[in-house]
Symmetry: C2
Subunit: 246 residues, 2 copies
């Protein structure tokens, strides 16, 4: 589930082929890998927004508390993702982040981002692309939350995770890691835990998939994607056309 070499370079290499100089600049960002245990917090909302993290291995999530006390999960982070990009222009962080599994984080100060702005137009564009992709992901989920049934929401989320895992590691099969409880699915999709359970058993009885405790096993990918109304457009970014190198 992790990356052997630098995870961020691996991730960015998918956008565009990097020069050695750029790789060197990037590898600065993963200088101090820090192991963090399951459920441990990375930061709380309201703290000073002074550094970002790259997620080298493991899963994490960001969350907010709503007025009446319950938790709303915003995003799931997978290996290779950058955590904190969304809010680095804010003085104080807008949401908290915790680990979903154990994993390795690499902190880097915000000043590094500015260095990148200064020293590499290409990496700047790549950062922008990463931010865009994250935003497109949010948009897609919002469209999903707007109108459809709990069943479609759940199906959509599972397909999203599958697609993102496949992007990181193309050899992912129809059974893959899924360390997310039904309660958290509810907090992510705005559905009550009870109804997540009902929906899942429903989907499972139709033979589409089986959710185990820490994995998901998909039996009928085609029908699942169809039910999820999943659009793959936003996976197909194309930065190369912008950056003609010579």
């Amino acid at each position: 589930m992790g990356c052997n070499e630098s995870c961020i370079i691996h991730n960015f290499d998918r956008f565009i082929t990097l020069t050695e100089d750029e790789k060197a600049l990037l590898s600065h960002l993963e200088k101090e890998p820090t192991h963090i245990k399951k459920k441990e917090r990375v930061w709380e909302a309201g703290t000073l927004s002074d550094q970002l993290y790259t997620l080298k291995s493991g899963w994490a999530y960001s969350y907010n508390h709503s007025g009446n006390g319950d938790v709303k999960v915003l995003e799931i982070f997978l290996p290779g993702d950058i955590i904190g990009l969304r809010e680095f222009t804010y003085k104080y962080r807008l949401s908290g982040v915790r680990m979903l599994t154990g994993g390795v984080l690499c902190p880097f100060p915000i000043q590094c981002v500015l260095d990148i702005f200064d020293r590499s137009q290409t990496l700047t564009a790549v950062l922008f692309a990463a931010s865009s992709r994250q935003q497109a992901l949010l948009t897609e989920r919002m469209l999903n939350l707007m109108q459809c049934s709990a069943r479609t929401k759940v199906a959509h989320f599972i397909v999203e995770i599958y697609m993102r895992l496949k992007r990181i590691n193309p050899s992912v099969g129809h059974t893959f890691a899924f360390p997310i409880s039904q309660q958290m699915i509810g907090e992510l999709l705005g559905i009550s835990t009870v109804h997540v359970s009902r929906t899942l058993t429903d989907i499972e009885q139709d033979g589409l998939l089986k959710k185990h405790r820490r994995t998901v096993e998909i039996f009928d990918m085609e029908r699942l994607i169809d039910e999820a109304e999943f659009k793959t457009d936003y996976m197909n970014d194309d930065l190369g056309r912008l950056l003609k190198r010579n």
Copy 2:
């Protein structure tokens, strides 16, 4: 509702004070103001993503079609906003854009963005901040759509528009432009038109506000903001701390 001078400079000036050089670079982006009529389309989804727009005056919105044919509205653009920032890393646009009122758009090719990346670290950071803010706005709306009642959704949306108008023009009073039909509110919040009507009459009978055809009149701002569960955090970005100029 429009801006006298360059709208984008006006908008960016709120993030950080710009040098004359930077203002000159920015004003390149508004070279060819184009008037577009109400309801006219700016672009369709799927077209080549070769230029962005700044919205100099008037309102616009982006939208998607869902599988079964109905429309989902993603974002409302107000004067000073940049249209297309979200998806400029994609070869083909992910969603369509139309004018809500008549207005003036200033197109600029994507290459200009790369020029900015190259020539001004400050403006790059400002663009990043604009993108972040837009993403934070999306996030806030997503949190809103996740769990709360139609009444809260509608209240939240009206407060959002009020806050954004006030940011552009601090003299905005308790009656302000609101050229959005109930049908579009429904498409934006994922509520049926019928229920938007029910919800609005409900809110109006409680004396919170009155929606007229093209304006909204707010009677009790405090209670409205309270009911909307509106968080103002993401309005308070702080780029200055990042860019210490000398």
